[in-house]
């Protein structure tokens, strides 16, 4: 963030809060790929309040704050452990990109096995919410039985196509076709986190303090979250059978292996498709960050290979 952009934060927050606010120089934090994250100390009402600034990056990875913010606000109101959103600037006119400011939550996002059971319970709790009661009816409601799968494939395919700079990826095109043909039935639409697991929740002294990264949250099939937890974020901690047993023991959820395999493939599709956006951003020099090169090559290919191994090989 440039100095002029940082200078605009204080006046903006003063206007939003209705009281004079002065802010520290934003400090970039390394976590997260889709957004630029900064720690900002805001002085107002006679005290210093630590906040986190979450700044969009031109739609990188195919997400924005337009759904993330109301989801976080709804869950915060419901007593779910998420950071409180203090301000949301959707226009991009203040610092050049849309952003929101949230309360700083103490904790770290490292993998800590002793927190896994609590996390599984929290994820199951998320899935039990009635989206309408939470006020999340602004989301498109996918039609049962196969709408949740098709809606997600459509979303990821659109993201993939937005990131193409030339020829398509044959294996990815084939994977999309396979997933459309084999879309399974979903019994109930629920709130799906979309990127769940270790690394996306904060904990302190063994207690979970906040679940983070709600940019891929949607209404759909809870199996997406369970597959993502098992094969993406949680894969280094336990093998799939151990995860399935753990989820059963902790949350009483009996996961169907065949259905899980389908959603496992969807998580790989997601990875390969959203990573495709890095290709265009890097090629067109929309962002100079070197992580884009890693994402558009190694990360993308890793997801594509796993998609191939899961359903095409």
């Amino acid at each position: 963030m440039s100095a002029p952009q940082a200078d605009a934060l204080g006046p903006y927050l003063s206007e939003v809060c209705g009281t004079p606010v002065t802010v520290s120089t934003p400090t970039r934090v390394a976590m997260g790929q889709s957004r630029a994250m900064y720690i900002v100390d805001a002085d107002y009402d006679g005290g210093t309040h630590r906040t986190i600034l979450r700044v969009e990056q031109g739609g990188f990875l195919g997400s924005d704050s337009a759904t993330e913010v109301p989801v976080m606000q709804a869950l915060y109101r419901a007593g779910y452990p998420v950071a409180e959103v203090l301000a949301y600037e959707p226009t991009g006119t203040v610092i050049g990109e849309p952003f929101f400011v949230m309360a700083f939550v103490a904790g770290v996002a490292t993998e800590l096995p002793s927190t896994l059971d609590d996390y599984v319970r929290l994820l199951a709790r998320l899935h039990r919410y009635d989206p309408a009661e939470l006020g999340l009816d602004f989301f498109a409601q996918p039609e049962l039985p196969t709408g949740p799968a098709h809606a997600l494939i459509d979303r990821f395919e659109a993201t993939y196509r937005s990131g193409l700079v030339g020829d398509p990826s044959p294996l990815l095109e084939e994977g999309i076709a396979w997933l459309r043909i084999h879309a399974p039935a979903t019994g109930r639409v629920c709130v799906v986190h979309g990127d769940p697991g270790p690394g996306n929740y904060m904990h302190l002294d063994g207690r979970i303090t906040a679940v983070v990264d709600w940019e891929f949250t949607h209404l759909g099939d809870e199996y997406f979250d369970w597959a993502y937890l098992i094969w993406m974020r949680g894969k280094r901690l336990m093998d799939p059978d151990a995860w399935i047993a753990r989820i059963h023991d902790v949350a009483g959820i009996e996961l169907d292996w065949e259905r899980l395999r389908y959603w496992q493939a969807v998580t790989y599709l997601m990875g390969a498709c959203i990573d495709q956006t890095a290709t265009r951003f890097y090629r067109e020099r929309l962002m100079a960050a070197p992580n884009l090169l890693a994402i558009s090559t190694g990360v993308h290919l890793s997801a594509l290979r796993r998609l191939y191994d899961t359903v095409l090989a």
Binding site: A30, A109, L171, E174, L293, G298, L301
Partner: protein, 138 residues
């Protein structure tokens, strides 16, 4: 000409990556800046490897050869690029199961997976740099 022998691109990239790793990285304490420098060094090394082995032309020729071996596949647009034709052939094969679909996959999959593996190997240092930083997330 005042410099009879101009610097070679490879040398510039390799030496820049070495300087970043040996001189700059050890002095960078800021976590985000450290990750950025490590990734820039890995990107320079990736560029060196790409300069030495520009694989895209070879990949296209290889895929073209496989498509020629297959002959006509329904739904495949003659004259399109090999990646478009391979995509169309594989999607058609998914939508039309049978011996011809199996043949399409049997010819195209090994070529595409071979190319994927070569690219993945070239990008492995970039990936490991990124992952090592992500797993230290705080």
């Amino acid at each position: 000409m005042t410099i009879p022998v101009l610097p070679r691109v490879e040398d510039i990239l390799v030496n820049s990556a070495t300087a970043l790793r040996t001189t700059v990285l050890p002095t960078v304490s800021d976590e985000f800046a450290h990750l950025t420098v490590a990734l820039v060094a890995a990107a320079l090394e990736y560029a060196v490897e790409l300069l030495a082995d520009p694989r895209d032309v070879a990949h296209q020729a290889e895929l073209d050869g496989a498509l020629n071996q297959l002959g006509d596949v329904p739904g495949v647009e003659a004259g399109a690029s090999c990646f478009v034709r391979a995509s169309q052939a594989l999607v058609w094969a998914q939508q039309n199961p049978g011996p011809r679909a199996d043949e399409v996959r049997a010819v195209l999959h090994p070529v595409l997976i071979g190319q994927l593996e070569r690219e993945a190997a070239a990008a492995a240092p970039l990936l490991s740099t990124l992952h090592s930083a992500m797993h230290k997330t705080h």
